[in-house]
């Protein structure tokens, strides 16, 4: 109750209510998320149910164009699946992978960053050197490599059947350095502050100081980073799927839908690519806009360089 009251009176809420961009982004994001997770309820067709799909329905244009069909509002893809339904299901996969990957990154990154920052010394040197090498390759490159390796080791079929956890793992491993560096930088800053010394003078054990005193104070940068990273992870997933290293076309995410449509763009079926593309951009854009707003409000110093 007290927390709620505090939240209601907070600057956070105040600035949210006075920022139309943040509010409309939030509304759009909520709408998209609800639509994605409510897909089984609201989608007109079930794209996973092969019995309802008729290959003869393929490449039907949206309803307002010549040759459109009333039951397929946004047309169909090359396999005759309803675009709207497939996109909703695809967005659900994109969001699940995006959020799941960020959880994994955050978990690895926060633990390693906290340990590196608080303990310092050799562990710190080693972890940060590793993070540096990985980051200099760029997270996308690492993700591409990892999925390529996974596909080679487990075979394409196994990879496709386990694509969601694999992609979460791949993107999670590829991007942990972002968290580790951010957390480490803010731990180093917090560690110098006198409340940490006060806790040490009290004789509190190191673990308790790390988790109970320092960690809560690194939450602002973690929150800011997390919004950016969700957008990033969704984008990475789309890129991997686009390259054929991600979700299979039988269970498409937005990225694999765009990829499958790309071949048909030359024959004029632009909607198979453009609709999921637009949805993807909208999704990432609203998350980024919210991220910008969160950063403005919390204004933490993110790790640079």
């Amino acid at each position: 109750m007290r927390l709620w009251k505090q939240f209601r009176g907070s600057y956070f809420l105040y600035s949210f209510l006075h920022d139309p961009v943040a509010m409309s982004s939030f509304v759009v994001l909520t709408f998209l998320t609800l639509a994605a997770f409510g897909a089984p309820l609201i989608a007109p067709h079930d794209p996973y149910d092969t019995t309802t799909i008729n290959i003869m329905d393929s490449e039907i244009p949206p309803v307002w164009m010549d040759g459109g069909d009333k039951s397929f509002t946004l047309g169909t893809d090359s396999q005759g699946r309803d675009m709207l339904s497939t996109m909703l299901y695809g967005m659900r996969i994109s969001i699940i992978i995006g959020v799941g990957a960020v959880f994994l990154q955050a978990l690895i990154g926060i633990v390693l960053g906290l340990v590196a920052g608080y303990r310092g010394g050799k562990i710190d040197n080693f972890l940060m050197r590793m993070a540096d090498v990985q980051l200099s390759f760029s997270t996308l490159m690492v993700a591409i490599f990892l999925s390529a390796i996974f596909q080679a080791v487990f075979g394409v079929a196994a990879f496709e059947s386990m694509a969601v956890p694999f992609l979460v793992l791949v993107i999670g491993i590829a991007e942990w350095p972002q968290y580790a560096r951010t957390v480490r930088a803010s731990v180093l800053a917090e560690k110098k502050k006198e409340y940490v010394e006060a806790a040490r003078v009290m004789g509190l054990p190191a673990n308790r100081i790390m988790w109970r005193h320092i960690l809560p104070n690194t939450m602002s940068p973690i929150l800011v980073l997390s919004t950016v990273q969700v957008a990033h992870a969704i984008m990475s997933e789309a890129a991997l799927s686009f390259l054929g290293l991600g979700m299979p076309i039988t269970k498409p995410s937005l990225g694999s839908l765009i990829n499958s449509g790309f071949d048909f763009i030359f024959s004029g079926s632009w909607w198979i690519t453009m609709f999921p593309g637009f949805l993807l951009v909208l999704l990432i854009l609203v998350i980024n806009l919210l991220g910008d707003w969160v950063q403005d409000v919390l204004n933490p110093k993110l790790y640079k360089g």
Partner: protein, 339 residues
């Protein structure tokens, strides 16, 4: 006043060096074209010996970088000393494990400089004050702890009704009171106060100084008061230790230091205090700059700036010696009667 001569904390030949050379690669340097590995150490404390007596306020003064804060933190075991001993009531504490150290943690507390950084911004005042109590007195019941929080908050002049608030809801002066309350929660005997008022405004400084002195009276506390503000030192201390570049220059009673400073550095320092109503600036000018604690001068650390330097000062490190007026100072010139 026999109790005053009892030593509560004894610091013997404490040395503290910090290695800032970094990783292996950072240590590579080139001298005469050949790669060599060099270590860079900051010599923060160079053999400091000091007794803190029961019930006194011992002030440690000096300019930034003189090692006064390091001394305070080393005494409390925040930094392990490179060499030397620290004893509390005669028992050596610098080599104890964190567990063996616990009973002493309760006796020795610290108050910090920056009231904005010294309280955890994510904890309420109640949590800040309860945590040490729960930790050190696990036998106390919840209501006993709450009573104690309320009591101590009253003692430092913060309304206990505000215990549910977060630090950022308080002003700098009030936070410093809470910081003092946190130290008092575990019934300490000895408090290291590291520049506790220098981040505060003048009118607030007086409030906190008064509080510090009240607490001493009420709880029979002993303080090590670290500051650069010489007028504050004159106001509150029993004895004063003057430090320069990690070395103790002069240790004297307040009256002796302000009335009859002995060490050339103390003299220069005291002449520089801006005094209300004194016209113009008439201070003893020191030549040159403070050397870095990475490259300490040989012999007496002050010889590069001292007006009385001779050959011996450049060569030999002076020891702290008793002077006729009862003070102690580390200076060859004083010992030889040159000044």
């Amino acid at each position: 006043m026999t109790a005053q001569t009892d030593s509560l904390v004894r610091i013997t030949n404490v040395v503290k060096h910090f290695d800032i050379s970094g990783g292996f690669l950072d240590r590579i340097s080139f001298s005469g074209g050949l790669p060599t590995l060099t270590r860079t150490t900051v010599k923060a404390l160079n053999s400091v010996s000091l007794d803190i007596r029961q019930g006194e306020i011992l002030s440690v003064v000096g300019e930034s970088g003189c090692g006064k804060s390091t001394l305070g933190r080393t005494v409390l075991g925040l930094y392990p000393p490179t060499s030397g001993e620290i004893a509390f009531r005669g028992q050596r504490i610098d080599n104890l494990s964190p567990k063996e150290m616990l009973p002493f943690r309760r006796k020795m507390q610290m108050v910090f400089q920056d009231p904005y950084a010294s309280l955890n911004p994510r904890m309420t005042v109640r949590q800040i004050l309860e945590e040490p109590t729960h930790f050190h007195f696990p036998d106390l019941s919840g209501s006993q702890v709450q009573d104690k929080v309320a009591e101590v908050m009253c003692q430092v002049g913060v309304d206990p009704a505000w215990a549910g608030r977060f630090p950022h809801e308080f002003s700098g002066g009030q936070r410093q009171r809470i910081s003092i309350a946190r130290a008092l929660m575990v019934d300490p005997e000895f408090i290291v106060a590291d520049e506790p008022i220098s981040a505060l405004d003048v009118s607030i400084q007086a409030q906190i100084l008064n509080l510090i002195m009240d607490c001493q009276e009420r709880f029979g506390l002993t303080y090590m008061f670290i500051t650069h503000d010489l007028s504050v030192v004159e106001h509150i201390s029993t004895r004063v230790a003057v430090m320069y570049l990690g070395t103790l220059c002069e240790l004297a009673s307040k009256e002796n230091l302000y009335g009859d400073p002995q060490h050339p550095y103390s003299r220069a320092l005291l002449s520089a205090i801006p005094k209300l109503g004194r016209k113009g600036v008439a201070h003893i000018r020191l030549k040159g700059e403070v050397p870095t604690p990475i490259h300490l001068p040989t012999g007496c650390v002050f010889h590069t700036r001292c007006p009385h330097t001779d050959e011996r000062c450049r060569r030999e490190i002076p020891a702290l010696r008793d002077l006729p007026n009862g003070s102690q100072a580390a200076c060859h010139a004083l010992e030889e009667g040159r000044i």
